[in-house]
Amino acid sequence: MMEDLSSYPLELGGPNIPMVRFMKVRKSYGDLIVLDNLNLDIAASEMVTIIGPSGSGKTTVLRMLMTLETINGGVIYVDGKPLTHMPQNGVLVPADARYLRKARSSIGMCFQHFNLFPHMTAIQNCMEGPVLVLGLSRREAQERAEELLVMVGMIDKKDQHPSRLSGGQQQRVAIARALAMRPKVMLFDEVTSALDPEVIGEVTNVIKDLVFKHRLTMLMVTHQMGFARDISDRVCFFYGGKIEEQGSPAELFSNPKSKRTQQFLSAVKAAD
C-alpha cells in the first residue's frame, strides 16, 4: 500500500528550520521492522550521537540519510528540502535517481571499514570526487585535498596507497575524502570500531577538531561513551528501532531515566 504523502510539506518553513529532519520514518527488511515511526531533528551545527545495543537500527539511520537505503515510510528532509522525495504536481513522490544525486550532495559519510579506493593514493582518494563531481580543476582539487590532509595529519603520506597505511591513518584519509566534498552534514558510523585501541585517539582527535573548529552538522554512531560525552550536544539512545531516550550528554549519562538506558550504560561500563 502506498503511503498518503499529502500531509508532508513540500518544504520546511518558519524559523529554526532543522538541518536534518526525520519525519515519521519507517524502514523494514521484509517482515523485519528496523525503524518504526522515527522522528528526529538535527539543528545546523549540532553534534548528535547515537548509542544503543547492536541491531537497534543505528547504522540504518545513517545509511538512510546517505541514501544508501530507501525508506518504507515517512520523509527525510535536509536543509528544509525533502531528500527521499521530490515535489511533483504539488505533492511528494519518491525521489528519482537524478533528484537523489542532487539532494545527497550535502551529505558526507565515513564508514567503519574506511572503504578507501585501494588503487588510488591518499591524495587521489581525496581528489576524485572534487574533480569528477564538483568539477574542480585538478589544481584546485589538489590544493583542497592537501589542506585537508594537513588538517587530519596525513600530508606526509599523501602519495601512499591505502594498503601501506594503518587503520587509523586510513580512517583519517577517509575523513579528508568526505570533507573534500564540502558536505553540510557529516555522518560517522562507528569509525573507530575497526581500529586497534592505540590508534583510536588519532581519529577521535580529528573529529573533536571538526566539532570545535568547524560549524558542521554531525551525526555519529559510536560505542565510545567517553568520546560521546565529550563532544556531543545531544545523545540519542536507540533501542529496538526507536529512540528510547535522548538528552544532553550530562543528563543522559549521569541521570538516565529509562530502565533500558540504565541497563545499557551499566553493561557498557562493565565491559570497559
Binding site: 544508501l68 544525486r101 545527497r104 564508514f111 579506493f117 588503487h119 591505502p162 575524502r177 568526505a178
Partner: protein, 221 residues
Amino acid sequence: MKWDFAFTAEILPKMLWATGNTLLAAGMGYAIAAVIGLLFALAQRTPLRILTYITREIVEFIRSTPLVLQIFFVYYVGPEYGLYLSPWVAGMIAIGLHYAAYLSEVYRGGIESVPKGQWEACTAINLTTMQTYRRIVLPQALPPAIAGMGNYLVAIFKDTPILSVIGVAELMQAANAVGGQNYRYLEPYTMVGVIFLVISLTSARAIRWFEATVRRKLGMQ
C-alpha cells in the same frame, strides 16, 4: 619418411605469412569478445530485469553450442536472410560472440569481487554509476580477471584453425594447402604445431607478467 629441410625452407615464408593472419584473427576476435563481453556483463547488472534475463539466456545459449556450428551458422545461414559476409567477417563475428560469452563471466566474477563498501563510498562522494564503474569498480575488477582473460586469449588463438572450415587463410588453411599441393604433410603440420606451442607458451608468460605489473601499478598486492 624423413624431414625435408629444403622443403621446410621453401614453405616457411608462406607459413609465417599465415601465422600473421592467425594472430590477426585471434587479436580481432579477442578485441570484439572483450568489448561485447563487457556489454554482456554490464547488461546483467542493470536494474532492468528483462535485459538481465535476455542477456543471461544469450550467454547460456552461446556457451552451450559448439563454436564450429556458430561459424557455419553465421557464414551459411546468413545469406539465406540476405546477409552475405566474407569468411573473415563471418568468422570474426562468430568467434567474437562466442568468446564474449565466456569473457562476460570472467568480468562478472571480477566485478563481483569488488566489495560492496566501494560502491557505497562512491555513492557517498556522489559519483554517477558510469563514473563508479569507470574509475573505481572496473580498475579493481581487472586484476582478478586478468588470469581468466589470459586463458581465453590463448584459447581463442588455439581455436582459430576452426576458421579454416569457411576458408579463412590462417595457419591451418595454409598448411592444408601446402600439404595438398606437395603431397607432404609432415613438415607443414609440424610447423603449425611448433608455431602454436611457442606462441601459446610465450603468451601465458606475458599474461602472468602483465597481471603482476597491473597489481603493482594499482598499488594492490
